[in-house]
């Protein structure tokens, strides 16, 4: 399967001997895929040259950032974008940042906070790429996914460089849709396959106002970082409600009032993950919190622009929650716990705790759409988790789901996952079956889950988009060098 000497040399001439490797020793670190080679380009020109060579030799390629997931067909050229890690620009006036693919969100966010700005960080965590796509904890304020995409520099599957939006007609990054080619539907596909063929080499992301401090006053030692004090005009609370309906009523009202910086529909299990430092402690805290909550709930961060603004927001929050019969979780009112959550849920630094710590793996079904409807679907998916919990295949989180408001609740996302031990084949199969059956139910009940597929099944229900998509891909990628699947995290 090795590349011929001639081809290897051609790639090596582009990136230098130190930045290409086809030794089998490194492959287990790259998802144990049977790759032809791993190549580390340093800039757009090198990416373009590599892509052109891939076309010349008909070699499939896939670009990856930090890359915790991915499927790689045999013989793929793996573009590890690690060396493309520059923040090109932070434009405070026009509120956008231009980044290369391997800038992680933690780096960009730290720079932004110093400037009173923030951006949408993927729920996967700040250890992942800051470039494009994804929903996350702060969607209530920062929106999510393609809503934050501005101009993009894109190396097409054939190796052409396309600059979208305002970048297509000038050197400006401020807009993704013009003056210049928009290409939004191609570049930011949210439906399967969900990945744009080619390589994004730079992109501008939208920035938002950050009313909090330039940095959090983090003290303590890993794995328990706390805040020395709660920064002024910031507050974190967790509220539980007597019913889903009451919770939704509060969510809607809070969105209308536009007072929440973050509204994250954590369940008690996820709060427990966040505030504990190990698996054993997590189990104990979850049990305690399960007794403390009265029903479903959400986590809220209020961030005031001034003491008056903060006071107003707090009053409105308390009024809305009280009206819906909500109850504040005492555990989170403890300033130490509040500080941990404030920092972790703004800096999105504990996603791994929420997902991987328990057993090493999780399978998830994210559903986009109006929260009250998607929650109804999620309740069913939660019930379907119960037999798996009973068998001991997955972590007992009470069958709970989670989710959050997007753009003050105008949109929403609901998600449910099973955490399990991937080495347990029976458990893995049970979880995969659960994911498949609940995704199918979502499709049948006309919800949109990003786990849906294959395209031939769902396409007919979605204006036959898959036929159009394939035609587009064929035009963009006549040599078929960009296989479907994978993820850019």
């Amino acid at each position: 399967m090795a590349l011929s000497k001639e081809i290897y040399k051609a790639f090596e001439d582009v990136v230098g001997a130190e930045n290409i490797c086809d030794d089998p020793a490194i492959m287990p670190a790259y998802h144990s895929a049977e790759l032809e080679a791993v190549i580390l380009p340093k800039d757009t020109a090198e990416v373009q040259a590599i892509v052109k060579l891939c076309n010349k030799y008909k070699l499939p390629f896939r670009p990856v950032c930090t890359g915790w997931t991915g499927m790689f067909p045999k013989g793929t050229i793996y573009l590890d974008l690690r060396r493309m890690n520059r923040i090109i620009e932070i434009n405070e006036k026009n509120m956008y940042a231009v980044v290369e693919p391997y800038v992680i969100s933690a780096q960009l966010q730290a720079e932004l906070m110093k400037r009173g700005l923030n951006f949408c960080i993927k729920g996967a965590g700040t250890n992942c790429s800051a470039l494009l796509r994804g929903h996350g904890h702060m969607d209530q304020t920062t929106s999510g996914d393609d809503r934050n995409h501005l101009a993009i520099e894109w190396v097409t599957p054939e190796g052409d460089i396309v600059r979208s939006g305002s970048l297509g007609s000038s050197d400006e990054w401020f807009c993704g849709d013009g003056p210049g080619p928009s290409l939004r539907a191609i570049l930011t596909s949210a439906v399967p396959p969900g990945v744009t063929p080619g390589v994004f080499t730079k992109a501008a992301v939208k920035l938002y106002h950050w009313p909090g401090p330039p940095s959090f006053p983090v003290v303590g030692k890993s794995p328990k970082y706390t805040l020395s004090e709660i920064p002024p005009n910031l507050m974190a609370r967790y509220y539980s409600f007597p019913s889903v309906e009451k919770m939704w009523q509060a969510e809607i009202a809070l969105g209308e009032a536009e007072i929440c910086y973050e509204l994250m529909g954590f369940n008690a299990a996820m709060v427990a993950c966040n505030i504990t430092t190990c698996n054993e402690e997590e189990e104990v805290v979850f049990e305690k919190m399960s007794k403390e909550v009265q029903g479903p709930g959400f986590f809220v961060i209020i961030a005031g622009n001034s003491a008056e603004d903060f006071s107003y927001k707090k009053k409105v929050l308390e009024y809305i929650v009280r009206k819906a019969g909500g109850k504040s979780l005492k555990t989170v009112e403890d300033p130490e716990v509040e500080g941990i959550l404030l920092c972790q849920c703004i800096r999105i630094s504990a996603s791994i705790r929420e997902t991987f710590r328990a057993g090493g793996a999780f399978n998830s079904i994210p559903i986009m759409g109006q929260r009250d409807l998607t929650i109804k679907w999620a309740i069913g998916a939660g019930k379907a988790k119960e037999p798996l919990i009973k068998e001991g295949y997955i972590v007992d989180d009470g069958g709970a789901f989670f989710g959050w408001g997007v753009e003050q609740g105008h949109l929403g996302k609901t998600e449910i996952f099973c955490k399990f031990d991937p080495q347990n084949a029976v458990a893995k199969k049970a979880v995969e079956d659960w994911q498949k059956s609940q995704t199918a139910r979502a499709f049948k009940e006309r919800y949109f889950a990003s786990t849906m597929g294959p395209q031939d099944e769902i396409g007919p229900a979605l204006s036959n988009y898959h036929l159009w998509w394939r035609k587009l891909v064929k035009e963009l990628d006549p040599n078929g060098v960009t296989p479907e699947g994978g993820a850019l995290v």
Binding site: A25, I104, E111, S222, E280, Q423
Partner: protein
């Protein structure tokens, strides 16, 4: 424990890349977000903590296929443990231990690094990890009339360490330590020519048997001399005596203190007064083996509880790098009149390595200096005039980086500053 015993831990790696960066809450900007020198220098994921686990796990499953590239990956790691600290912010799994076991296995299988073989040959011949060590180990103490701890009863054994003993440039550290202990009226002695290498650096390089031989020799001498407390100024020595000897049940009841801890105690007890002004703006570099790898060993034996979670019976307490020696050196520095201490971005458990560990100093000096240069740059960014450390290996590597980069930064060991202040 052998590599096989960490199979579950290695399988827990979710490839999230947290091992490459300082814990996310501690990322303070674009700069100085990296924590692992190896992945920072070589870029392929295989050089990261997670990548190393992925490779080791795969080899356990599919057989050990040693290639030159694999050995390049294995030996281009300072074994500094930063990957584990960052991972363990969120995950319950061992990271450095399986990486270390993988290296031990390489050596066991004869897949060694020629430069390290040379060092170990020297150790076997001279009892020192300093290549080409010549002369007597105790030569630095000539004329000082210090007590011979092997023959006379002392309260404290000052273990000097290989580099300080055999590299004349670092005799100043031993002599400074002597002055400090004498000033505080401590009844101490040295083992002189009877002192031998602690074995810690041999262990980092993967030579477990040589480490054990050294450990046994040292403990036999210590037991015979009736020594109850050992003080050393070398972070490698500190970790060897305190952590590794304990891990292999060789430490007994020996109290092991780093000189910075001991000085902090002497100051607190009023036995040592730092009166003289030292007008200097400094920053402090945490040596890996005094900091995150210097925390006590936790003896544990248990089994994974079958089921969904990676939990054990009895519950496992992970060493997450938090119980290392962080405050005593800072307390000492702050006690020196006139000194202003400004912290770097990466400190304590997520400190950036100086580059000298894991045999990299010997097998790939260019990489060691590359690593140290990054630290020098970070130190200079604080506005400090000097970087203070607490290990001769760190001081040596940082000095080399200063020379190569043309920096005006001064490099001190903590005992040098204390000596100026007494």
């Amino acid at each position: 424990m052998a590599l096989e015993d960490y199979r579950g831990d290695m399988d827990m790696c979710c490839r999230c890349s947290a091992c490459k960066f300082v814990p996310m809450q501690k990322v303070k900007g674009f700069q100085y977000a990296n924590v692992c020198p190896s992945i920072s220098r070589y870029n392929f994921h295989a050089y990261s903590g997670g990548g190393r686990l992925n490779i080791a796990a795969s080899m356990l499953k599919n057989g050990f296929n040693y290639t030159d590239k694999l050995l390049d990956i294995v030996y281009n790691c300072q074994m500094c443990g930063a990957c584990g600290v960052s991972c363990n912010y969120a995950m319950d799994m061992e990271v450095l231990e399986p990486i270390s076991e993988f290296r031990l296995k390489c050596v066991q299988d004869g897949k060694t690094n020629p430069a390290l073989n040379k060092v170990i040959a020297g150790l076997r011949k001279t009892g020192s990890m300093v290549p080409g060590a010549k002369g007597k180990r105790g030569a630095w103490a000539a004329g000082l009339k210090l007590k011979d701890a092997a023959k006379e009863k002392v309260d404290v054994l000052f273990h000097v360490g290989c580099l300080t003993s055999y590299n004349k440039d670092y005799w100043k550290l031993a002599k400074a330590t002597v002055k400090i202990l004498q000033k505080a009226g401590v009844n101490f002695g040295i083992a002189g020519d009877a002192e031998t290498c602690c074995g810690g650096r041999a262990y980092q390089m993967g030579y477990k048997e040589d480490f054990l031989n050294q450990a046994k020799k040292n403990m036999a001498m210590i037991k015979k001399a009736g020594v109850k407390t050992l003080v050393t100024g070398c972070a490698d020595g500190y970790q060897a005596f305190k952590v590794l000897y304990d891990r292999y049940n060789l430490k007994g009841n020996l109290e092991v203190l780093h000189i910075s801890e001991y000085i902090a105690q002497l100051i607190a007890k009023g036995k040592l007064k730092l009166n003289k002004k030292v007008n200097l703006n400094v920053t402090y570099h945490d040596p890996c083996r005094l900091g995150r790898l210097g925390e006590p060993w936790i003896h544990w034996k248990g089994k994974k509880i079958p089921g969904d979670r990676f939990v054990f019976d009895p519950p496992k307490t992970y060493r997450r790098g938090t119980q290392g020696v962080y405050e005593p050196p800072r307390d000492v520095i702050k006690s020196i009149p006139g000194i202003k201490l400004t912290e770097m971005t990466r400190i304590k458990e997520y400190s950036w390595c100086c580059g000298a560990g894991g045999g990299v100093n010997e097998s790939n000096p260019g990489f060691a200096t590359w690593t140290a240069k990054e630290r020098i740059e970070e130190a200079a960014s604080t506005g400090a005039e000097a970087i203070v450390t607490a290990c001769p290996w760190c001081e040596k590597t940082l000095n080399e980086a200063v020379r190569e980069s043309g920096s005006s930064l001064k490099v001190y060991d903590i005992v040098e500053l204390v000596e100026k202040a007494i």
